[in-house]
Amino acid sequence: MTATLTDRYVHAATRWLPGGTRGDVEAELRERIADTVAARGDSPAAEREVLEEMGDPLRVAVEYTGREPRLIGPRVFMMWLRLLVLLLAIVPPIAAAGNLIGELTDGGDVIQALIGSLGVAFMAAVQVSFWVTAVFAVLDWTGALEKEDADPWTVDKLPAGTKAGQSWGDTIASLVFLGVMALLLIWQQASSPITSDGDSIAVLDPDLWSWWIPVVLVLIAIEVGFTLWVHYGGWTWTAAAVNAALAIAFAAVTLPVLASGDFLNPELVEHLGWSAATVDDVLQWITVGVVIVTVWEIVDGVLKARRSSVAV
């Protein structure tokens, strides 16, 4: 004899339930289905209709056990969201930077190392998201956070706000600028628009990949972290000092390179037909530009720090 629809429905609804409640839920479902079908004339068509009205057996099972069909409930959602955003802002960049430094000190190919680091950052983000969510889902389902509001909110948790924190506009502008700089550094090597016989000629001296470009990329990565830190923490005097240190670090690694003259790709200079004097002029202008930008960066940080310390 084949199992009836009711048998199959009850089995589907209860097979994942723990032994203690399974028998009880099973008996209740049978009573409910039998009563309802009887009230509608006890026909196979009625049985079908009743079961379809009850809906997905898994859902019924979840309702009977008093659980809500959700992964993370409203009680822990905010805690989950805050922790996830915080960890995503910290862990992937650190993992990527660590991977990049490791690859470069091992003498690996720079572009390969950069692509590899992007992959590492992505995997780190996936891992962080999965584990944070898994832990919170378990905490929520087991009711471990049921008793006390595990993370009571106080006014101290307000974000720094318009006075101290940087606006999203400034932050996004900075991040886009930093991203474009990093891409330009890589792109000028990989596929510069200046071509000779179909081969693109890098703008910067390829020897710079041995140290200057990686160092600048790391500085850009640190700047990204710094920008996010300022966004939430605001322009404090500490932030202004860190900002100045970063600007000086950039100038300190860049100015010697410019002074040595080994900055532009010799092939490019040859291709454009520049004389040694022209190259010197160009490098001089770039040097002036770097100095002006560095000084402006430092002054800008100090001004912003002073403005927010006055405003508070």
Binding site: A27, E28, E31, R32, D35, M54, E63, G66
Partner: protein
Amino acid sequence: MYDELSRQHVQELRRGTVVLACLLSLREPGYGYGLLESLDEAGIAVDANTLYPLLRRLEKQGLLTSEWNTDEARPRKFYRTSSDGVRLAETLVAEWNELDTALTRFTDGGNR
């Protein structure tokens, strides 16, 4: 009778009253389908998908007690309001009356 928005709000308003209706009705023992019918007759429309899980929940909270009756051809789970449940029902009825008084004051628009 109602559009979708009204239906939602009406449902929300009724949600808590189903608990009260169960607690009051089950002072006399009853089983799921029987309760569903008597609530329906009394004008309290409840979906079966809501009522059955609700009875289990109320039992878990100690507001109802249950017993399987196997005397008839089909075994049925009979629920009965516990003493805690009776006390809660009294509190809820008092609350209901207070709300009714308060709301009446608004709906009469100060005409009294």
